[in-house]
Amino acid sequence: MVFSRFVEVGRVVLITYGPDAGKLAVVVDIIDHSRVIVDGPTTGVARQAISFKRATLTDLTISIPRTIGTPALKAQIEKQDLLGRWSKTAWAQKIAKREARAKLTDLDRFKLMVARKQRRAIVGKALGKIRKSK
């Protein structure tokens, strides 16, 4: 097993605990083996030291110099389309799906149930045909 996610300047982290939970941030500097300085001008994360107890590494990185300032970091994030790349990952899509499901109202849940029933009927029918032909 080879590691591919490293603690490095420019590494994108997802904050999982505290007031910023669920937001993306970028590692700007490394303090020690468990803490880094992160900044997230586009996601509303203030520049701060954060422990890896409160954040997880993602596969994404952006190329930035060490201790880059917040305005310059913002420009780099937009230039390298960090949020666009993030939204394409399976991880981000899973989170988006979970949020969409939590937002469903009672009527929406009913509609979903009906739609799943219909899909089941179609798939089941097609599957039966295949089984018979074999």
């Binding site: 939590a102 937002k103 469903l104 109202t105 009672d106 009527l107 009913f110 509609k111 009906v114």
Partner: protein, 237 residues
């Protein structure tokens, strides 16, 4: 900050100006004098009674209400007077006419019903509609109800005749149980024809809107239940 007093104390209890000087300073003569209204005479508690006997002075004052002959040996505890007055029941903001509610208790628990209006007693007037899910026009307590965000247009519904009195039951005198009556008890009493008519009239407009939206009709027909991993306090309705 308040200004200095016009009539300051020069020593505790002694004012700088006399009563008449203070009267002039405050210009109280400009104000209309308040005259206390004459007090009504207290109702009579005694009456004069003629008495016989030459030495008895002919008349005597006798109390109107006789004093009790016996007093309790111990003071009876007097219950505390409550100064709380019942306030009118407020309706939850999420419930407006036409809101689909989920009934949580009673015979129709789990049913999705349409809210019509709040009655004077604070109870909610709801209907199934009866044709869709079997819930008649009835009253439910808003504490036992979940309000959903779904609203149905009920502008064509007239709910004027439905009051708390409408739901009052006629008192049936209890008869002595006989063998016949006991076996008859199992039989169902037919629903009053006028109630059936009222139900039909109210549901008519709602059914018309449901006809246009088949999913909404199916939604009202389906009953509500929680499945694995669903927590009502975390869910959106």
């Amino acid at each position: 900050m308040a200004h200095a007093p016009t009539n300051p104390l020069i020593a505790p209890g002694v004012h700088r100006y006399s009563r008449s000087q203070a009267y002039a300073k405050k210009a109280l003569f400009k104000k209309a004098k308040q005259v206390a209204p004459a007090k009504a005479a207290a109702p009579a508690t005694t009456k004069t009674v003629q008495v016989g006997g030459a030495k008895n002075n002919q008349t005597r004052e006798v109390p109107l209400v006789k004093a009790p002959r016996f007093y309790a040996a111990e003071d009876a505890p007097v219950p505390k007077k409550s100064r709380k007055a019942p306030r009118p029941v407020s309706l939850r903001a999420s419930i407006t006419p036409g809101t689909v509610l989920i009934v949580l208790s009673g015979k129709y628990r789990g049913k999705r019903v349409v809210f019509l209006k709040q009655l004077e007693s604070g109870l909610l007037l709801v209907t199934g509609p009866h044709k869709v899910n079997g819930v008649p026009i009835r009253r439910v307590n808003q504490a036992y109800v979940i309000a959903t965000s779904t609203k149905i247009d009920i502008s064509g519904v007239n709910t004027e005749k439905f009051t708390d009195a409408y739901f009052k039951r006629d008192k049936v005198e209890k008869k002595k149980a006989t063998e016949e009556a006991l076996f008859e008890a199992g039989q169902k009493k037919p629903v009053d024809a006028s109630r059936v008519q009222d139900q039909r009239e109210v549901d008519k407009a709602i059914l018309a809107t449901l006809k246009k939206d088949r999913i909404l009709r199916g939604y009202l027909n389906a009953s509500f239940a929680l499945s694995r991993g669903q927590f009502p306090h975390l869910m959106k309705f």
